[in-house]
Amino acid sequence: MSVQTSNILIPEFSTSALHLLRLPANYGANFGVKKLLTNVPVGKPKKPTFFRTHQSDEMSFMAMLLEQKETRETYLVATDIAQQISNLVRPVRLHTAIDRQNNMFLIPVPLPDESGSRNPWHESLAQAVEHAKLKWIRIAANMHIGGYDTFEAAGALPEPEWPTHNIDTLVDVSFRGKIILDIEHPVVQSLLGNV
C-alpha cells in the first residue's frame, strides 16, 4: 500500500511517510524582504560602544571633510573644491566600523600633516582604529593625556558579521545630500562670509 503525494511514492502512513510530508518553515522565502541601508553615521563611536573596524584597505576611503560645528553636520567635499577652501576642510581616511548591534558607521581619522605627524588625539584615534581591526574595543577621551584611552573587551566575543556593502555604497548613504561639488554651495558661501 502506498500513497502518491508531491510526486513521492511513500508507504502509507508509516513514520517515514510523515517525515516526507513535513512542510518547511521557510517563512518569507517568497518575499525576499531585506533590510535597507538607510543611515551610516560619520564620527567617533560613543564612549560605551564597543566596535570593530574592517581589516581591508578597500573598506576605507580618503576624503576631504568639511565639519559644520553649529549644526553638527559633516560634508564630503570634491577635491577641486577642497583645494579652493583648504583652510576649511580636513583630509581624513574614513574607516568602516561596526558595533555590537551590527550598526555600521564611518570613523574619520585625520591624516598626518606635511611633516608626517599628528596631534596626540588624532594619533591615539588612529592607533585605536588599527587595534579595532583585530579586537572589540571602545574608546574614551582622556583630557589629562590629551588623547583617547582604548579598552579591549575581556570576553571572547564573536567576530563581526560584515554586511556585503562596499565602501562606495557606505559613503553614498552616509553623505546623501551632503556632498559639496560646487563653490557656490550655500554652506561654503556661508563659511566664506558671502551670505
Partner: protein
C-alpha cells in the same frame, strides 16, 4: 493520496446521537443511534441502539480503502469504542478542517457544524431546534416511538448537512494533512475514553467540605500574607506585602499592579512564596469543584477540545479538566492499585523547536548540551566555559529567564521584574540573545514578514493561521513554536495510542500515561522513544529529549507549585497529606 478516488471501498458520512452513561458527565457515552450515508450518493442507513449493540464491527467497510467522515470525529470514535468496533483506518474530520481553513478569521457563527454550514451558505437546522433535540437525547430516554423517529431524523439531518459541507469544502481539503488530523482525532478518542485516574475518596472529601473550607482556607493561607478582608482580596495590602518582601511585580500602563492570573502564574514560577496565594485566588475565583468531570469509575474524562486554540493546541475546559489552572487540585491524580502513572514532557520544547526550525547552529548546540540556559550564558561569554549549574546558579537563572522572556515576547521591563534586576540588565540580556542567536532572529523576522505580506503562517503538518486580523508581533513570532509544538503533540498522541500505550491526558508539552507497575518502565521507555520520534518528524530529524516523573501506587501526582495549598486544604478536611 491527492483526491477522494483513492477510497475505492467508499466514503461514509457518519453521525451518532449519544448521552453519557447514567447521565453522568465523565462517564463513557451510550450510543443512541447512528446514521451513515455513502458519499457522494447512496442510501442512508439508520441504526437504533439495540441494533448497534448486536454488531461486532461497523456495518460498512472501515479498512485502508475506506474513509469515514464526521464533524468532531472524536465523539463518533468514542461510540465506535464503546460498541467494541475497530476504529476506521482513515478519518476525515470536517471540524478540524474547518478550523484549519478559517483559523485566524473572524467567524460570525463560530466553528460548530451550524457555524460551518452558515459560513458556506448551506441550509441548516435552527440552533433552537438543534438544542431541543440534543436535550431530548441527553435525557437518556426512554423515548416514545415518535421521539425515537424524531431522534433518528435529527441524526440524519446532520449527516445530510455533512454531505453538503463535504461538497463545499472538498476543494480546500489538503488530503495528506487532513488525514493526519483525522488520525489524531482517533487518538483523542482513545485518550478521552481512558481518562485520568483520581483518588475518589479525597475527591469526595473535597466535594463534601469545599463550601465550608473556603473561609478557613483564607485564614490559613492569608496568615502569611495578611491581604484578605473577609473573602475580599485587597490589592493595596498585596502591594504592601510585595514591598515588604522586595518582590518586583509587573504593572499595567496605568501604573496599577497587574493582578491577572497569568501574571500571578508567571510570578509564582520565579517567586515560590507567591504560589500559595496564586493557588488560593485561583481556587476561590475559578475553581468550581463540582464541575470537574469524574466518571463513576473515578476517572476524569472531558472533552479535550482539540484544535480549539489558534495554535492548534487542545483547549479543554479549565473547570472540567484535572489539568486546569488550579495546580494543587492535581494532587487528586492517583494511579489505581497495582498501576503507575508517568508524566513525560519534552525538555525545553519551545527552545528546541525554535533552534531546529530557524536552523540557528548556536541554539541547536545549546539545546543539545542538555542545559540550554547555561549554554546560552557560555555562548554569550557571560560565564566561563567550565561553568556548571552549581558554580553559576544565579547567572544561569538570569539567562533562563531571558530565554523564556524571548519565548513569551516579554519586554525588558517585565524581564527585569521577573529576575529582580535593573532594567539595564534585562536589556543587556535580551541584547545578548539577539547577538548570540542571530540566525534565529533573522528567521523570526522572516516569520513576521510572511505573516504581514503573505497573510498566513503555517506549521509542519498543515495547521495554519490567517494573519490578516493579527497585528500582535509577539503572537506572530510565537506561532511557529506553539503550532509546531501542537503538531508534535498530536503526532506523539497517535503514535502512542496506536502502539497500545494508555494515554490519560495530553498536557501542553507533556503526556500522562499509565501502565501496570510491572510494565511501567517499558511503557515509559516506549513513550520517550515515540515522543523523540515525533520531534524528529516535526523538526526534520532534530531530536528533543524528555523528562519523566513517575507516580507509583499508592503515591499521588503533585505539582510542586500546588503542594503547599494541597496540604493546607487536606489538613483542614483531614485528607491525605503529601510530602
Amino acid at each position: 493520496m491527492t483526491d477522494p478516488s483513492y477510497f475505492t471501498d467508499g466514503i461514509y458520512l457518519v453521525d451518532f446521537e449519544f448521552h453519557p452513561a447514567d447521565r453522568r458527565e465523565g462517564n463513557p457515552p451510550v450510543p443512541v443511534c447512528m446514521v451513515v450515508r455513502k458519499w457522494p450518493c447512496g442510501a442512508t442507513q439508520r441504526y437504533w441502539k439495540d441494533e448497534l449493540r448486536t454488531m461486532a464491527a461497523a456495518p460498512l467497510p472501515a479498512g485502508y480503502r475506506a474513509l469515514w467522515v464526521a464533524y468532531f470525529a472524536s465523539a463518533e470514535m468514542d461510540c465506535f469504542q464503546v460498541l467494541g468496533w475497530s476504529l476506521p483506518v482513515h478519518v476525515l474530520d470536517l471540524f478540524a478542517e474547518f478550523r484549519c481553513h478559517t483559523n485566524g478569521m473572524r467567524l460570525a457563527n463560530g466553528s460548530s457544524l451550524l457555524g460551518a454550514l452558515l459560513y458556506h451558505d448551506l441550509p441548516s437546522m435552527g440552533a433552537e431546534q438543534k438544542d431541543a433535540m440534543r436535550d431530548m437525547v441527553l435525557s437518556g430516554g426512554p423515548w416514545s416511538p415518535a421521539q425515537r423517529t424524531a431522534i433518528m431524523e435529527y441524526c440524519e439531518t446532520d449527516v445530510v448537512a455533512l454531505a453538503h459541507l463535504l461538497d463545499a469544502m472538498l476543494g480546500t481539503i489538503d488530503w495528506p494533512y487532513a488525514l493526519i488530523r483525522g488520525r489524531y482525532m482517533k487518538s483523542v478518542s482513545c485518550i478521552q475514553m481512558n481518562g485520568t485516574p483520581l483518588d475518589t475518596e479525597a475527591h469526595a472529601l473535597l466535594l463534601a467540605n469545599w463550601g465550608g473550607v473556603q473561609d478557613r482556607l483564607i485564614a490559613e493561607i492569608d496568615s502569611d500574607y495578611g491581604v484578605f478582608e473577609g473573602r475580599t482580596f485587597k490589592t493595596q495590602r498585596w502591594e504592601d506585602y510585595l514591598m515588604a518582601k522586595g518582590i518586583p511585580w509587573p504593572r499595567l500602563e496605568s501604573g496599577r499592579l497587574d493582578m491577572s492570573d497569568a501574571t500571578f502564574r508567571g510570578m509564582a514560577r520565579t517567586h515560590l512564596e507567591v504560589a500559595p496565594m496564586r493557588e488560593l485566588r485561583s481556587a476561590l475565583s475559578e475553581m468550581r469543584l463540582a464541575d470537574l468531570q469524574v466518571g463513576e469509575d473515578g476517572r476524569n474524562r472531558c472533552l479535550l477540545s482539540p484544535f480549539r486554540a489558534r495554535t492548534g493546541r487542545n483547549q479543554p475546559s479549565n473547570s472540567k479538566f484535572i489539568f486546569g489552572p488550579s495546580v494543587w487540585l492535581r494532587g487528586l491524580i492517583r494511579p489505581r492499585p497495582g498501576w503507575g502513572l508517568a508524566y513525560v514532557d519534552w525538555s525545553q520544547q519551545e527552545f528546541g523547536i525554535a533552534a531546529a526550525l530557524s536552523g540557528d547552529p548556536g541554539m541547536m548546540q545549546a539545546y543539545l548540551s542538555g542545559d540550554p540556559y547555561l549554554a546560552f550564558a557560555k555562548q554569550a561569554g557571560a560565564v566561563p566555559p567550565a561553568a556548571t549549574k552549581q558554580s553559576h546558579e544565579s547567572e544561569r537563572e538570569q539567562f533562563k529567564a531571558c530565554v523564556l522572556a524571548v519565548q513569551y515576547g516579554m519586554g525588558e521591563e517585565s524581564l527585569a521584574a521577573r529576575i529582580n534586576q535593573p532594567v539595564a540588565r534585562a536589556r543587556q540580556l535580551l541584547e545578548l540573545h539577539r547577538r548570540t542567536y542571530r540566525t534565529f532572529w533573522k528567521w523570526s523576522d522572516c516569520a513576521v514578514d510572511e505573516a504581514v505580506l503573505g497573510g498566513r503562517l503555517w506549521a509542519g503538518f498543515g495547521w495554519q493561521i490567517h494573519t490578516c486580523n493579527e497585528v500582535n508581533d509577539r503572537s506572530l513570532r510565537n506561532f511557529p513554536m506553539q503550532a509546531n509544538g501542537a503538531e508534535m503533540l498530536r503526532i506523539a498522541c497517535f503514535l502512542l495510542t496506536e502502539a497500545g500505550i494508555r494515554v490519560c491526558a495530553p498536557v501542553h508539552d507533556a503526556l500522562l500515561i499509565e501502565a501496570p507497575l510491572d510494565q511501567l518502565d517499558e511503557a515509559v521507555a516506549r513513550t520517550k522513544f515515540l515522543m523523540k520520534e515525533a520531534s524528529r518528524i516535526v523538526l526534520d530529524g532534530f531530536e528533543l529529549g524528555s523528562d519523566v516523573k513517575e507516580i507509583r501506587y499508592p503515591e499521588r501526582y503533585m505539582d510542586k507549585r500546588g503542594a503547599v495549598m494541597w496540604n493546607k486544604v487536606m489538613k483542614l478536611i483531614k485528607g491525605p497529606i503529601t510530602v
